[in-house]
Symmetry: C2
Subunit: 328 residues, 2 copies
DNA sequence: CCCAATTGCTTAAACGATTAAGCCGAACGT
DNA sequence: ACGTTCGGCTTAATCGTTTAAGCAATTGGG
């Protein structure tokens, strides 16, 4: 049995296996279609060559595509991926983490859910390799790959200002997650940097658990004031979908009554009667880089954490066109 | 060590373990936070409690949602899911199958790609448990859960006829897969059963590898004839997305110039300026049932295959409203 | 009082792969 | 000729768990 192992792992030289028997072993192995048993290998080596991918919401096309990229990239590196969706829920996230730790995944790629900071700290303390994707905690030193959410939102805000919009609102999640805070900060600073005093009532925070009603209420409030907003930034894809549906119901005209810019990307934005300007995150690069960082981390667990920010691209469409041109 | 195993597996009675030591073992186990090693368990038992899910295209929201349901349901049964996307490609599907077999998954749930019939036959010959989902091969006796694609398409066709449309086209994939044949058959029979002689040029088959150009060409041809179609059924979600984009470009009015019914479901259909009538497949039930069948199969490998067809629901929206009412 | 059954615990083999260590014979050097 | 080295192959321990089998000591019946 030992010889078989040596030969099939290409250690014939180091282990001084004879030419003759080496050949015979190879031949017989291929005749029998021998496949080594991953479990036994893993049990012995302590490496499963499996990555746990925990994402916040698989039904969101952004994350679904991230999952796809991560899976492909992991395969290129010889890893299998086990995907779990935490559904933006810290408890489910914890369960998933435990299941996957129990399954001895070699490491994690995580899109963190709300209130999951302690889980990240736990992984760090336990020295379980992981890379945060898209969302990270500035208070914890970790590897991460993320979009520069601040700058993306800032660019969106500036774009609307430059196109002549004066009262620019944002609907965001009522979330403590850093990426959401950054999006809000970018939006606010885009206004103030461009001589538009930010008004508190332009910013609405919607609870993720009551997104439909929340978005409706937010839009109602924004439009009901004496000076209704003339442009709106949706801080996430789901907010945009709900918001656009409601805007349709209200028979508001985009961009005539309300210009729109949204985070996220999806076919839905192309099909809207007025194609939606959106922030395109570099999905492929994000996913690939996350896998690369994790693989690196698995090779040298002691290395300094890599922290990578990438730029989102503002894809400009009709929903935010220059105000003076609207209704032409 | 043996005692530990007995106690922690609740076999204290059968294996006559003393009360005293049993209690001590439990206490110590919980103190140490003992977690059994899945790999060792699997190596010994030959069961990994892992299901391989191979889907045709993870970036399609229908399949993404299927994946989510399957994952949740599997977890309820104590199984972990490894997801792979074959991207509608038989070779990638074969690779995935091999990787997962090598990982000793207990069984598969498969949404088959084109030309993957032999792979299914292979699994059957090797007696590897599996359940086909959404797509199946009538020539091979297997477990499957699927929508009744024939009836769904038939209902869509009848609906359009009843609403006064006379020249009803379909854009389908150029695929030999049975579900696609069934959708086409349903569409054709809906017409002929309702005294509308089917015209060959109403049916266009688009190659999946060139979907964008294919759909454009198909629509061009359909609209260019002397008697252009007045209603169109998209046989899949992706066809619809591409088709609707092009219909927008052509500035065709839905349903005035062209009524639309599509398979699949997505936010995009709600956001379209004229909400799209679509066939809603019972995603939750399909996924749950697939897991249940597989779990059953894993328990009794010899049982007769279960073959389950479910009904799609036609969700009627403005895109197919009664022709006489259009433009009111 | 002795053999049998029962109870409570220990040993060890097995799953499949890896790998250090051991063993034997041939070649080689002095 | 004798010790050393090397090539070529075999043994066995290990990973963590399960489970059949074995072994004492205690209890029970006749």
């Amino acid at each position: 049995m030992a010889l078989v192992s040596y030969v099939l792992n290409g250690k014939e030289k180091e282990s001084r296996v004879g030419q003759e028997i080496a050949g015979k072993i190879k031949q017989i192995a291929s005749e029998l279609g021998y496949q080594p048993n991953h479990l036994a290998k893993s049990l012995r080596s302590g490496k499963t060559h499996t990555i746990g991918l925990i994402i916040a919401d698989i039904s969101n096309p952004f994350f679904a595509n991230i999952a796809r990229v991560v899976e492909d990239e992991a395969k290129r590196h010889g890893y299998t991926v086990i995907i779990g969706s935490s559904d933006e829920n810290a408890e489910k996230s914890r369960d998933l983490l435990n299941v996957l730790i129990n399954r001895q995944v070699d490491g994690f790629i995580i899109v963190s859910a709300e209130d999951s900071q302690e889980q990240v700290q736990y992984l760090k303390d336990k020295k379980i390799p992981f890379v945060l994707l898209d969302r990270y905690f500035p208070a914890i030193q970790t590897d991460f790959v993320s979009t520069n959410h601040y700058k993306a939102a800032y660019n969106a805000g500036v774009h609307l200002v430059k196109n002549g919009y004066k009262r620019i609102g944002m609907i965001a999640y009522d979330s403590q997650l850093f990426h959401m805070q950054e999006r809000i900060r970018g939006y606010v600073e885009a206004l103030t940097d461009n001589h538009i005093p930010f008004q508190e009532h332009w910013l609405k925070r919607v609870r993720i658990s009551a997104i439909e009603q929340g978005v409706k209420a937010a839009i109602d409030e924004m439009m009901a004031s004496e000076q209704p907003v003339d442009a709106l930034i949706f801080a996430t894809y789901s907010l945009a979908i709900n918001g656009l549906k409601y805007i349709n119901e209200l028979r508001l005209n985009v961009p005539g009554d309300l210009a729109i810019v949204s985070f996220g990307q999806a076919e839905a934005f192309d099909l809207y009667y007025c194609p939606i300007t959106y922030l395109k995150q570099p999905i492929g690069l994000l996913g690939q880089t996350a896998v690369e960082l994790l693989v690196k981390k698995l090779k040298e667990p002691q290395a300094e954490p890599s922290q990578i920010l990438m730029e989102a691209e503002l894809i400009i469409r009709a929903s935010s066109k220059t105000k003076s041109l609207v209704n032409n």
